[in-house]
Symmetry: C2
Subunit: 435 residues, 2 copies
Amino acid sequence: MSSFRDDGALAVDWVASYLERVREFPVLSQAEPGAIRASLPQTPPEDPEPFSNVLADLDGVLGPGLTHWQSPRFFAYFATTSTEPAILAELLAAGLNQVGILWRTSPALQELEELTLDWLAQLLGLPPGLHGHIEDTASTSTLVALAVARAVAPGRRVVLCSEHAHSSVDKATRLLELELRKVPADEAFRLRPDAMELADACAVVATIGTTSSTSVDPVAEIADRCEKECVWLHVDAAYAGAAAVCPELRDRFVGWERADSIVVNPHKWLGVPTDCSTLWTRRQDAFRDAFSLIPEYLRVAEEVTSLSEHTQVLGRRFRALKLWAVLRCYGRSGLQERIREHVRLAGLFEQLVRAEGGWEIVAPRPFSVVCFRRVGSDDLNEEILERVNASGEVFISHTRLGGRYVLRLAIGSFRTTEEDVRLAWDVLRREADAL
Amino acid sequence: MSSFRDDGALAVDWVASYLERVREFPVLSQAEPGAIRASLPQTPPEDPEPFSNVLADLDGVLGPGLTHWQSPRFFAYFATTSTEPAILAELLAAGLNQVGILWRTSPALQELEELTLDWLAQLLGLPPGLHGHIEDTASTSTLVALAVARAVAPGRRVVLCSEHAHSSVDKATRLLELELRKVPADEAFRLRPDAMELADACAVVATIGTTSSTSVDPVAEIADRCEKECVWLHVDAAYAGAAAVCPELRDRFVGWERADSIVVNPHKWLGVPTDCSTLWTRRQDAFRDAFSLIPEYLRVAEEVTSLSEHTQVLGRRFRALKLWAVLRCYGRSGLQERIREHVRLAGLFEQLVRAEGGWEIVAPRPFSVVCFRRVGSDDLNEEILERVNASGEVFISHTRLGGRYVLRLAIGSFRTTEEDVRLAWDVLRREADAL
């Protein structure tokens, strides 16, 4: 273990100094396609190399191919944070290498996963009695939930979601061979419940915090309809769910407590590194009916439902450890503080845009993402985006709303400061002025 | 970062001393269901706690709930190893928090993943030109492969596999709503190609190293039939694929190079922690056709196919880093050495069983798993297993072959020595004699 201790010290130091330096790197990788691969040997090594070689290549070879998700100046997609306690929890998880297949293959993994999901449900103000487990990403959480919805409503093969729902709904219905019916949205990009045609529907996916504009579907009204017509309600709060930790933001979540299944991604806005998607249901039996399958080589005496009976994959790693570490090392107050600060910073950025001539805000801002554009053509906005990202100073992404090309600034890194947000605005104005 | 450096030093030390002590723990957790959860607070913390509290509870509270997959005396299911370089690579991956969505969101992640999959294909003697990517587990790899098989053969809804194929094939076909036809096996638990009825089939799953007995289906013969009738051939070598790193074991793999898709799990027998399942195909276009779906907010200028276009999930973590670290820090020679030693130790254990009266070997042993039993009833064997596992000295699992209850000893930990194997045999005889 002496070399592990030495290499471990080097690795910890590498991560620490990476996080110290991360603000300095070009946020979006400026590498050309194929360049990273071409700079590495094309055949595997015959003989062992020291771990320090891996570390050296991380700097020297892989470095330029990194897009710095840990940068406080990453404002694209949904900005994330891998916090320090969670990073170390991943080290511990890899050291323990627990494999959750049956309860007995790691009682600690299963019981901590169920407990932390219960903790998180409490923090988010969800009702008691939900059963939760962790999936890799919301793609899987939504797939699994819709598979259960399909199973409980034989012959009903239609899924409804807003035209602003995430592409994972499209992919899930494609895999499940369900028909996806996109429901029109109102002027604030919210699903219009009056436009829902529930005939033959097995499920509705309502989104709290859509990917493009973070709009909030009217979940309570949708729940009314779903309950009346016995249709499964799946709530996708992958990004925005974290905000429910703040009581003053709970008005965005009215009705989600009535969902059959809810997905929130702690790897988005709760300081947990990818991957960690949490999925709750009040219909645990339906999940077990849809997924349980125990072959002979896994039959055991104890009568405990294993987490693998609730989902597609058999083996799971110890993801609960990092979520547990974050919930403990931040606590309710620490998480609230960060979410509030992000919402404040997004409000500040919105004000800066509104105060400036020649720019406009193009969507309501329920959380920490601002949708805006330079007054002018789509091409102009696309060019601004490209120049901003090519500068490497900040990284911002785009979407399309109401047919128009729109810029998005997403605040979500625990390391982002007001100075970083002001920098983003300066870079945007500078690049727009230069055109 | 000073607290991260300090906490990191504690965490590295914790893992190092865990691995030093791991041989001493009861291998199978002796916890009662619910005990771990009950010993933790039922509500989340309000305020931040130091990371050292997490470490303290790892020892004090979670410890008894761990089943020690890292123990050299873990012989159940398929024994695994999370090697030191891979553990540290997971620390680095969490520190970097790369999220592979599009190529540009982490060129290094995508290009290293494609390169390491190419390296591994070379090490395993697979033909050039395959495209590979990483999934979480073989459950997903097989699901994804069968989804592609379904897509390329519209109207053909039958999948064939041996009655000894892994339960993940059952689960995949259930999710995909395909009909699963279990083909009878011969006396050595190998799929009988003459019994394959390929009418309406979109895929055959052939297994190299079945879960119960590690039997090897006659892949070349199966490939002949599949090619003639244009049926997708998926090879499940989740456990045994690693053995192909040794040229002298390649005779078990004849024909797999003709498969449409192949899954191998480096998290089983190649020193990589869970999760890391590698999936290759020679039909990359079919994968892309089945899975590609780019919403507006992910459209970019560069023409690079992203890994997310080959599979169900949109975002992936930097799993390639740990695989790369293992391939470099062990090299071809280091991996060969360990696989050979495991096969040798399994041979030794088989000899010990054969040399002893009152015990029998019940299946051929192509790799590092020995199937055996005490001559006598199923109940007797079940009782032996329970006593052995309750002793905590070693952990062994069971299966059922030819209708009989069978004990399985699986060698796969890089830390297992001949002494550990001899101990397992001593414990087995002791517990059998005590009955």
